[in-house]
Amino acid sequence: MSDQSAPQQTLSFLDLGERLRQRGQFEAALSVAQAGAARYPTLAAAHDLIGRILADQGDDEGARSAWLATLECDATHPGALKGLAFLAFRRRDFGDAERYLEAAAAASPRDTSILTALDRVRSMRPANAPEVINIDDPVAGLLLLDNQGLRLAGGLGTGRDEQMADAAAASAAGAAREAERTARLLGLGAWQHLLIEGDSMRTTLLPATAQAMLLVRRPATAPVGRLLAFAARAVQAAQAWLGNS
Amino acid sequence: MRVLEPWLAEPLGELVRESSARLALVMTSSGQVVGQHGFTRSLDVMAAAALGAGILATTGELARLVGSDADFGAVVHQGAQQGVWLAGFDTPRGRWVALVVFGRNSTVGLVRMFFQRFAARVREVAPMPMPDREVLAEGFERELDASLRALFGGG
């Protein structure tokens, strides 16, 4: 984490900025935070502080930029993930809010405030309102790839860059070949999906068309059945995307 | 890949492809090479064939010594970076031996599985050998007689 790269004594501006923010002295807080961020551009906490100040000022767009900058420094920064979830909640985009909170929960599994927020967000979403599927969104946790293992669209989700997405796509193509062969040679017919579960994440890989497949990655807090149902819908979206592109 | 007879290309190709083999060698139990993949020098092919056939014969003897009814079936050497699978199998041409060298992207289990499929496929597609009775034609004895006399210094 880049926070650790800045010497401890130089971080007093963070405390000062935070105190000013809590007192409602937003302009002063912002100038302190921006000066700190200019001095330590890779310090995630500095961008996070800016995000909080701008959000308090009602500048959602500015706050969003600051928190995305935070994630560039530290892909699993819980403060930034929670902040982005808050912004999404405020604009009533509960799907996005849930996604950021799931990522935050994966990063800080013991933070009960995140799990509480997650429950609240889930309860807010109407039961019949499906999660929005955007194949092109690199942070949506949807990765569309071709049979050769080349990324067509999307990414692995919050906190994972394009290089990792490319590497995952390359691995996924090999896994799909093995899945197809295993199902065929064991007399199980065509393969439908491969579900990979770890402590923090769940990933499913499934064929989208004859030439393409989809990788859907979610935090382990996402229920398996829901992940698979979402993945099935995402396949339809991917097929439409492939038809249009 | 090189094969002595064209019908072997398909099963050997499948074995190599499916088991991700780096090197593969198919030989008769006396060490005559009938197909290979991945070797670049003929000297290596011959050496590997001779050693492979020898190792299998030796382990067959070992199996007999320790009281195993059948031979061990396969000899596996698993190294850090690559493994070797060596096993005999029956064909219409007699007993043959396959040697497969595989890397970290394969496993003994995978090689074993596709070796079994390969052996079954060879049994299925290998044409029956030309009867030995047809190797020589009538009248060979005159040539043989002359040859032996010349060899033994009898003119």
């Binding site: - | 002595l4 008769t28 006396s30 005559q32 014969a57 030796t58 003897e61 007699g94 007993r95 030309m130 030995d132 009775r133 047809e134 190797v135 020589l136 034609a137 009538e138 009248g139 060979f140 004895e141 040539e143 043989l144 007689d145 040859s147 032996l148 010349a150 060899l151 033994f152 210094g153 009898g154």
Partner: protein, 199 residues
Amino acid sequence: MARIDRDRRTIALTLLVVGARGAGKTTVLRTLRQRIPTDRLRAGSSGESDPDPMLDWLTMDLGRIQGWQVQVDLYAVGPVSNRDSTRRLLFNEADGLWLLADSQANRFDDNAATFRAAREQLVDREGRQRDLPTVYTWSKQDLPGELILAPDVLRDGFAPGGAPAFEADLVRGTGVLESLHALVTLTMRRLAPAREQPS
């Protein structure tokens, strides 16, 4: 089975010289080494300094027969049991058998035991007895008559089926080349149509 490479048109025969200790196997191979031109011969031994080595071999190049390059691998194998694995391999490969009997009357039982052991090893993978072309050589026929058995007696004892048999004086080399000539011919007949074989 003869090793036949149809693409390279080569035939390699494996012939075994089998005899009890002291029956003259080494002398047979020595005689052949002396009589065959060195450019047609390769030879080796498991124990060069051993007067009766456990395994002696030579390879003869017979030249071309009907366009086939023919090679004969001749192995002298004794009755020693601690070479069983090597013996077994050789017996699996063998195309022809050259049984060498010491003509001395007091060696009759040794000869019989050696020949019996050889036949026991001549089984295929299914355990069936293999029928190999066989010739017999009665060695030491040059010894005084009261010490040896006559060829007729030896034939009755060992080769009642009428396999070719030759009397040999191994020291002078008589009978050796004739025996080998007969065995190579018999073995190669199995590679030709059956009608080739005279009755």
